[in-house]
């Protein structure tokens, strides 16, 4: 019986192509929508991605990664004194304006001041130069996008050794790093904590974060609780920090509505195109299905046949859709587009496609159940 169903399906190539196209298009839209959603979320906590630390300690009022509330200089020592803390390092995160020497357009940057002695939280993917050169003179490490954006102004690429101005102070490029892109298009410039203080307007409290690692063999959750209890500050793992930031985005930005609309449209298109085409396909075959029923095919067998047809359409359409999106993502410049294809996305889309196909199958099965086998005797 399944063979009959499959031959009925594959035999009508135009309808089969239409069915698969509908599912494929729905898969592409939903995958793209969800990838966009996670991509934008990823952009929102890019700083926590670019600065690697097991534990982040921030002001208790901080709600998201981009919120750089100043801490007291003494807080770093207070954190160090918490049992279970292996090391704690100060971090500065703030904004600055970069400008080429001799004039030209300015470029907003996110300035990162790493602990001068340990360079804790330094970027891990250094394309050119050496991270240790941060300690020399006016050395800074810039992200690769900074080079590209400056090139748009200068006409030629900046290189290691070149000098530019940041808030009217000289900075010399000693390295280029590959880092995740943040919201708003600002690029990253890394320097030491001490020199960061020179680049930004003087403030009473300069430190914005304390980066922490728990001692070896010590569980992280008790350390987080101890830091909070002993200092009154907020202590979070990297994952918690990102999740908190993502939740803040979900609550306070229009992103969920925009993405929800895209995913919803994908779902409706899938349901509308595939569901309706499948229903029409079954309707047009009602006489043949009636003949099968007359010849003794039970409702159960015909139901399984239709479900099999719907499942095949779903699998093929989903497979092509995910394949197309994977190919699309693979040719995108890394980290530039706010698209992240998490492994969970195909699973979510697959569940939605299954829902679409099963809804189409259920409606069709209902229609077929109404077909009397005696229909075949009518002229």
């Amino acid at each position: 019986m399944y063979e009959i169903g499959l031959r009925m399906l594959f035999g009508e190539r135009a309808k089969y192509a239409m069915l698969v196209s509908g599912v494929c298009f729905a898969t592409i839209l939903m995958t793209q929508g969800l990838a966009l959603f996670f991509g934008i979320l990823g952009f929102s906590y890019a700083t926590a991605t670019n600065i690697r630390a097991p534990i982040w300690v921030v002001d208790p009022m901080v709600q998201q990664v981009g919120d750089n509330q100043p801490l007291r200089d003494t807080d770093v020592d207070r954190v160090r004194s918490v049992p279970g803390v292996a090391w704690a390092a100060p971090l500065f995160v703030g904004g600055a304006q970069a400008k080429l020497l001799g004039g030209g357009a300015t470029q907003p940057v996110t300035l990162i001041g790493l602990d001068t002695s340990t360079l804790a939280g330094a970027p891990t993917r250094i394309i050119k130069g050496d991270i240790l050169d941060l300690r020399t003179g006016q050395g800074v490490i810039v992200d690769a996008r900074f080079i590209e954006m400056m090139q748009q102004t200068r006409g030629e690429r900046l290189a290691v050794g070149d000098v530019f101005e940041m808030n009217d102070r000289r900075a010399q490029i000693v390295g280029i790093a590959s880092v995740a892109q943040g919201m708003g298009g600002a690029t990253y410039v890394f320097t030491t904590f001490d020199r960061a203080k020179d680049y930004v307007p003087s403030q009473r409290k300069m430190m914005t974060h304390v980066l922490v690692a728990a001692s070896e063999g010590v569980a992280v959750p008790p350390v987080l609780a101890a830091i909070k209890a002993q200092t009154g500050l907020q202590a979070l793992t990297e994952a918690q920090f990102k999740r908190m930031s993502a939740n803040w985005m979900l609550r306070n930005s229009p992103i969920p509505y925009v993405v929800g609309l895209i995913v919803g449209i994908g779902f409706v298109i899938g349901l509308g195109v595939s569901g309706q085409t499948f229903y029409t396909f079954v309707l047009e075959n009602s006489r043949h299905l009636g003949a099968l029923k007359a010849m003794g095919a039970s409702d159960l067998k015909i139901t399984l046949m239709i479900v099999t047809q719907a499942a095949i359409v779903g699998f093929v359409g989903f497979g092509i859709g995910v394949g197309v999106m994977s190919l699309f993502f693979s040719i995108l410049p890394e980290g530039r587009a706010p698209l992240i294809l998490l492994w969970q996305i195909p699973l979510i889309v697959f569940a939605a496609i299954t829902l679409i196909c099963m809804a189409a199958a259920v409606v069709s099965v209902w229609r077929v159940s109404k077909i009397e086998p005696a229909i075949v005797f009518r002229g």
Binding site: M1, I4, G11, M295, S298, A374, F377, G379
Partner: protein
């Protein structure tokens, strides 16, 4: 009018069968207490003008439609009383169908179409197609087994339909206007073939037709009018008339 008693010679026995169809508030009485029987091994024609209820009667006696009242026994099974799934199972094993419009699945080859009743019974595809090919050879179109219906003439399609009706060796074969979609010569060829391959001592062939040119192929003919059987007689009387 003749009445047969239910015995081993009777394949189908219909007693007091009535059927009406409703369309909104209106109800149309199609069968009015039909009594009728078909013997094993005979070719029985049901004839009459359009709208007299012959197709409805055919549908009821082969179990594709339930009567509103009356009894239908087929091969000893009380089709009027058993649950629908059992009727469906009965049809799959015991009834072969030949339809007016052939009703071949357009996306299947001739052999695959013939194999459908076997596939419904759960016979594996390869075995079913093998048996179907043998059946196609017996109706004289083995060379067309790989062709799809749209590549076959009307006569060839009806041969495929005959092969499909017989492939699972059913004791009852029902034919609804088997020649109405064919020209005269093809119609005679099909009826000749049907008489040759379907005739069996234990098989009953029931043909609904209003084509008097083929009445000569019947053993008996039941005449219907206004939802009733007027009379049942030997075919030669109708041919002579």
């Amino acid at each position: 009018m003749t009445f047969d008693v239910i015995n081993e010679e009777t394949a189908i026995d219909v007693r007091g069968v009535g059927k009406s169809f409703s369309n909104g508030d209106q109800s149309t009485l199609v069968l009015r207490g039909v009594d009728f029987s078909v013997r094993r091994g005979e070719v029985m024609f049901i004839v009459g003008p359009s709208g007299c209820g012959k197709t409805t009667l055919l549908s009821i006696l082969c179990g594709t439609l339930r009567a509103d009242h009356g009894e239908v026994h087929a091969l000893g099974m009380p089709l009027h009383a058993i649950p629908q799934p059992e009727v469906t199972q009965f049809r799959s094993k015991n009834v072969g169908f030949i339809f007016q419009q052939f009703n071949l699945l357009p996306t299947l080859t001739a052999a695959e179409n013939v194999a459908v009743p076997l596939l419904i019974q759960g016979v594996p595809l390869a075995e079913a197609v093998k048996r179907a090919s043998r059946m196609l050879a017996s109706v004289g179109i083995s060379e067309k087994s790989g062709e799809r219906p749209n590549r076959l003439s009307g006569g060839q399609q009806q041969r495929v339909a005959i092969a499909r009706a017989l492939v699972h060796e059913p004791p009852i074969v029902v034919c609804d206007e088997p020649t109405s979609a064919l020209d005269s010569a093809s119609g005679h060829q099909i009826m000749k073939l049907l008489s040759e391959v379907a005739r069996d001592a234990s098989r009953s062939v029931i043909v609904v037709s209003h084509d008097p040119r083929i009445y000569g192929y019947a053993d008996r003919i039941a005449e219907m009018e206004d939802g009733r059987i007027l009379r049942v007689g030997e075919s030669r009387h109708h041919v002579l008339n």
